[in-house]
Amino acid sequence: MSFFGFDTSLPRDKPGQSSQQQSMFQQHDPFGGLRREDAGNGETLDFEDTYDGLGLKLDESGDTFNDDTFGGEEPVTRQEVGKDFDFAGQTARVRDDLLEEQVLHHARQPMQYAQPARPKKTGYEAYKEPEYIPKLEADASIWGKLSSSKKPAEPQARPDSSARKMMSVEEVEAMMRSQTKPTPPVENVDRQSQGLRDMLGVGTPSPAVAPLEQTRPPVQILQRPQQQQQAQQQPPPQQPMPEQNTRAPQILQRQHSPQQRPQSQDFHGQPPYPTQQQQPLQMPMGAPPVQPPQGHRGPMQPVSHNRGPSYNGPPITQAQQMMNMSTDEREAYLAEEAKRAKRNHKIYLLSKNNGLMTPQDKNFITRIQLQQLLTATGGVDNEPGSEEQLAEDFYYQVYAQIRGPPRSGPGQPLNQFAQTYLFQTGSRYGFGRNRGQLRGGDNHVQRMEQQVARAVEAAKARPKNKSLVVEGSLGKIAFSNSKTPRPLLNLKRADSESRVRPPRHTTVADRKAALRDIEHLYSTLMKLEDHERHMPRPPQEDSPPDEIERHIRWRSEMQALNQQLWEATKVMEPIQPAPTQPHPFISILSHPKGKKAIPRLFRHLEEQQRLTMLTLIVIHLDSLDVVRDAYPPADNTPLPGKVKDEVELFSQAVMPPLFSYVNETTLGILVGMLGLVIDRVHVQTILRTKVGVSILTMLISRAELVSQSLPSGAIVGSSGADDDKQQWSNLYSRLFDLIEPTLPHIFPTDTNVSAADDVYVWQFLAAMGVGASPEQQQRLVLGVKERVMETVGVAKSLMAAESMGGARPGGTPGGAPNGVGERKMGEVNLFMRSIGLDVELLG
């Protein structure tokens, strides 16, 4: 607890205040202090306790004409104020304080400080005149600041006076800043009138009363003035009176001549009446009005003096009070005082350079920096999100889009950067903007935005050449910038090189040709995707013709690209009846990146093209690498890892689009497809492979589904469907006959049953079982009976092991993962149920 009841933590240490006072330079709410007006009403704060006795130096003898000079309570205008009094002398006395306060203001709120309330008339214009007391040297801004917000403050001041008791230093300062604006002439009147009061012997601190009123020393000190007022209303205190009466005249005499103006340092050395000097002048005029004005004027100035960064001695203000204190209190007070002095010094050191740059200066620098930022990318000169930017920084941009937080566009990073930058700066001024009292803020942000826009324009307009050839010279000068370092090698490639290949190997499906095809496919695909990204808005009924035209042009380009893409897939290459080489499309599919291209390009294909592609795949099923290479070796060794990877990739990349297509086809197409499989492909071969079985499952299950959903029987008009159904059942029988001999070998045998990856087989069997006649079902069961029993047995033992393992905490880390047995059982059941059975029936 500090002596004054202030919060002694520095602004940065105060978590709760963060919204209000984030940094020295940023936030200050000039009205914030007004809410705590209660200070003036004697609750927590009074300037008197911290006032350093300036008023002692006042010449108190000239009060008579104060009203003439200053117009009573009215703010003084220049016209009213004559020059026939030593105004400057008095001002000069507080000059140090004013300077301190100025520094303080700069330290606290350089931003706001700039223009506040300059237009307001105060009594101080005269001081700005150069010929008027040149040695004054007071910064005009102080005056402007001082006068700024007093008027609006007053009405607002009283209402919530009960809100807060304790004020932090910041708050006090805030209040000072908002309130301090006492028009000094009035203050002078106060001071001078104080002399009167002193002579009357009132208004001295009355130590006897104080402790009764207040419990805590700091508060007590702060409260003094009020007590004085009370004292004024009550019989005047006895103790101080005589002393005062004797001393007041002394002071008056000492200060009588203006030439005797003391140095400001002297103030600190003048203990006797420090607290009194600013007592409002109303006393002589009448008691009632005293309190409010005191509340307003009192606290601010003195506190600021004490807080002033350049303050260089303990405030004598307290001397008398100190004498009244107990030893403990005094010690505490002194410690507090030392602490405060230390802090003040620190603040002073910190704020030494404050105000060196005006907000305008800072803005100027910021704008230059911003411009630099934008033009630094300049050589590449891409507006964010532009084609060039995407080209230069494709990976990052797209990656950021895919993986990063949701962003608005591919050009985000720079854009975002600039925006953040603007935003930050904006918030700096936004504060002023919000408060509606800082006219500069909006302007700067606006200007900044304009600046950015201009910078972008300039960057765009800049010639894109990265090298300069001076005429007549032998070399050329390459420019480089941060985005495009100067290329060390600049090879000029012969044009011919890329043109060698045209019609040659395209049909010869060697590996290289396939890879080239794939690359071609990809580049076409990327072109198409780029084009797709630039889709103009779909035209409306009322859109302007050029927009419609643009859209039409876009569509025709899209179609052309689509055609290119289709050609690039090589699907339409003629199928050789007795192929010596695999079909180009099939060789594309035999490369991993070819497989990966399928889902991407499938999206762009039309219905017919998809069907064609599917058909081509089905016809060449047994020559697909994932079928051909995946045929289980005779010695029952596991497939090589590479083949397994290919199979995996195929089922992940190629199957899903095919599957989704098949899921929407009609029975007729499926029948045709299966017919092709039966006629053109060696079914027994493909049945031994995962991909082959999966494709068959896909076709059969869909066919079953469609045929079951079709109305059976003689509905007029559905003869086509009936035909299809009839064809389907014929086809099914043929297929079944083909499949049956392979059934015992259909399961993968390279691993033991428990680890076997045979879901797809069970799925296939289930698909077959659904459409099978009872007789076929029997044959089906017979074919796979052994495996069924084996799998069920394994599953059961696994489940038993698991239930035991489950009892152990943590399960079976080294063994089969939990749930394998159940999963196996479920797989078998899938098949069993399709033929109307259940594993439970097996006992």
Binding site: A391, E392, D393, F394, Y395, Y396, Q397, V398, Y399, A400, I402, R403, S482, K483, T484, P485, L491, K492, R493, D495, S498, E519, Y522, S523, M526, K593, K596
Partner: protein, 100 residues
Amino acid sequence: MLFFSFFKTLVNHEVTVELKNDISIRGTLKSVDQYLNIKLDDITVVDELKYPHLSSVKNVFIRGSVVRYVHLPAAAVDTPLLEDATRREASQASAKAKQG
């Protein structure tokens, strides 16, 4: 600019930078520039016993030209995208080369 573009996406991931003098440094990639200079934070040297003088170093700035390899976190690399970016880069480079 492909590499620059690529490394930018690895910022704040842990990478291991193998230098041409055989020192391998693992740390969090803080930034990278167009020269592929690298800034690493919280570094550890992989073979610390061999390079005790680096044991107290917490962050480094590595000149791009002395980097031999950068070991990437596989999870942070989008391979298909990188492939596409490479294709673009290649096609651009060839277009530029033709252009002279």
